[in-house]
Amino acid sequence: MSTFDWKKILQIGLIGGIVGVLIALVGMVEEFNERDIIAGTLTMGWTMLILTVLVMAYFVAGTVKAHSWLNVAAGALSGAVFSVVMSLLTWMVDSFDLRQTLVNASPSLVKILTFEQGIPNGLITLIVAGIVVGAVGSAIFILPERIRKAVTLGLGMVAFLGLMQDIIQVSLAGFEGLSDAIAWMFGRGIENGLSVAGAITVFLVVSVSNLLWDTNAPKVNARIEKLPQKSRRSLKWFGYGMLFLVIIYLPAILGLYLTEVVNSTGLFILMGLGLNIVVGFAGLLDLGYVAFYAIGAYTVGVLTNLSGELTSSFGWNFWFALPAAVALAVIAGVMLGIPVLNMRGDYLAIVTLGFGEIIRILALSDFLKPHIGGSQGIVNIPPPKFLEVLVNNPQTLYYFIVAGAVLALFTSQRLRDSRLGRSWKALREDEDVAQAMGINLVATKLMAFATGAAFSGLSGSILAVKLGTIYPHSFALLISINVLALIIVGGMGSIPGVFVGGLLLAGVPELLREFAEYRLLIYGALLVVMMQVRPEGFWPEATHKRELHEADEEARLTAEGQEA
């Protein structure tokens, strides 16, 4: 049945328009316009607006239940509403001086939004463009699923490469043979995005190969299935071997700056894996997770520093301080765990939040200043030595962090499938019933806090040697929130989800440093959209997905029942 719900489409268009106005007024259009995705053709500012229209088109496509021209018409309509709202903004910015209150409502914004064509002409172009993008956007959603996936992926890849072009160019600059290809792909030097030809090539290569893979994947998989056990196993080991080689050579390929980005992402992932045990596996909402990070860092700092400014100087070797730091974090985890044993949900969150702040304020306090340096922190933490190699630059630290992450990955995987993992799962579902199954609540909860704290303490220790100095303000509440957000975005309780979340929420922002001003805004918007569209996260754990799509599950079962 086809329905064309005028009101709903207008409403979506209006909401999209308001989002567009917001994007323009906070200054994102202007600032992002400095950078091109496709050189000379498409700027990043415009990409933001187009993306808004595409998201609108996605929702509009949801309201029209038919896959037909009605969809395109609906998309065009919502696009028109969007661009009319944007035109109104442009006209107002042009006619009245709004800069007293709205700093970014500047003539240059008008210039961008009117394509430098002046008021009447430019606005007409804007509206036509809105209609076209809306129509094309919803046309994407009526394509057959396979083609839609390929097209979306291709467009996404173009946007991604265009966005990351300077980093890609810099890191590929070392390869002499590639310089011609790079020059062709990226056109006019380092400040601009892909060349038009490069963008088309990327789009075609990605979409076509995705399409081919989609059609042939079952065949390939079937052929692999048919292979004898032995060659299948060797194929698997070959895959692992390749992955291993990539991991080993990554710092050499990426260069210093990107390795540094990978390192900070890695630390977040390491913490995420730990918090995932507490929040994802055991369902204990811990907002003070940064405390253990601080404890790990400060323990290493106090035990190994050579500054001589603190009253007690230990001068330990890092490799002795590291287990001490992890042990202290574990003890702190248990000490936090004991008083909160009887608390659930929101109450637990508040208490742990307080705990995190207490640790930070203690680090800042004058009372502990002689021992841990107060607001000046601890300086001159020497880099550790590993078999005569000084771990003091991003490229050596990288291996250290990878080792930590692999350890954490392995441990959480084993724990998840263990008896302890099962009791965490029961605890998360229902504490009382878990107890009636014979699960020791006290031990189970304390184990969750302790294991989570151990990983956090480990990443804190690495942070201490990575920076060489630690300050109380490195351990703000925002870190706990970031780690929690990356778990939510990746998918609660899902181990691969932690990696996805880490790359998205720690890696990408690190790469887009120049837009750091908008980081939290985009972050917040992403979380809101995620919760609406994909509440189970990007790479969800099976159980969690089932809960949020109970209706689908029931529909599937009824369908199966009818078939049977």
Binding site: V433, Q435, A436, M437, G438, L557
Partner: protein
């Protein structure tokens, strides 16, 4: 010696005196029922036996051993399993995962697979739905699952809290038939019910609970013909 005996227990919720000196005993192989209205203390009695609540006074004895030194999860290892009120299945886990959770206290793989087989024989419906998420089961199926899950711990004593709650009459009958079946296979059952006529229909003996005290105790037959019970719990004039 009674397999389970309760002597003069007083249990409190904060300052509310919920159980005012309850004593009862259960012999091996019996089905004993506790009947009574809302707030009489039936669930509180079960929670006290299973260790989720600690009595301020009195003792719970299993084969003569005082259970007060054990925590709730340790009592499961002693052979007492509970089917909680409102079923309490793990809604996001599948039927099989729920049953596996029930076997948490048992580490013997052979025993676990025998138990699983037994549960699937008792409730063929659960076998059909073993990959389904428990939250999407019907009320009756959830009751079967909760019962099956308790059986996975190979209990000597099964505590059942209101298994008939919110179920259609035909399902109530099915559940009660299964309780009899489980009992025949050697498990002692303590059954808490509001549906007194059904409960007295399968039980050997019964206790009537009123505002935290036992007001009557007799064989099920005698209770059924007792005029007070008939009037108050069986709806007869």
């Amino acid at each position: 010696m009674s397999i389970l005996s309760i002597e003069n227990i007083h249990t409190y919720y904060g300052n509310i005196h919920a159980l005012k000196g309850i004593s009862l005993h259960i012999e091996k192989g019996e089905i004993v029922t506790l009947i009574g209205g809302n707030g009489a203390g039936k669930t509180t009695t079960l929670r006290t036996i299973s260790g989720l609540l600690k009595p301020r006074e009195g003792t719970v004895k299993l084969n003569g051993e005082d259970l007060s030194k054990y925590k709730a999860h340790e009592i499961v290892y002693k052979g007492i399993s509970m089917v909680p009120e409102g079923r309490g299945v793990f809604a996001r886990l599948t039927v099989t995962e729920n049953l596996e959770m029930g076997a948490y206290s048992r580490n013997d793989k052979g025993e676990n697979s025998r138990n699983l087989e037994r549960v699937f024989t008792l409730f063929p419906r659960l076998k059909e739905r073993r990959t389904q998420v428990a939250g999407t089961l019907s009320g009756g199926e959830q009751q079967m699952l909760a019962t099956g899950r308790a059986l996975m711990a190979s209990p000597n004593i099964l505590l059942m809290d209101e298994p008939s709650m919110g179920l259609a009459p035909v399902l109530v009958e099915l559940i009660f038939d299964t309780i009899q079946q489980i009992n025949k296979e050697g498990t002692t059952v303590l059954l808490v019910e509001q549906n007194a006529s059904m409960a007295l229909g399968i039980a050997n003996r019964g206790y009537v609970l009123q505002t935290g005290q036992i007001v009557l105790s007799d064989s099920a037959e005698a209770l059924k013909s007792n005029p007070t019970v008939q009037k108050a719990y069986l709806g007869m004039e």
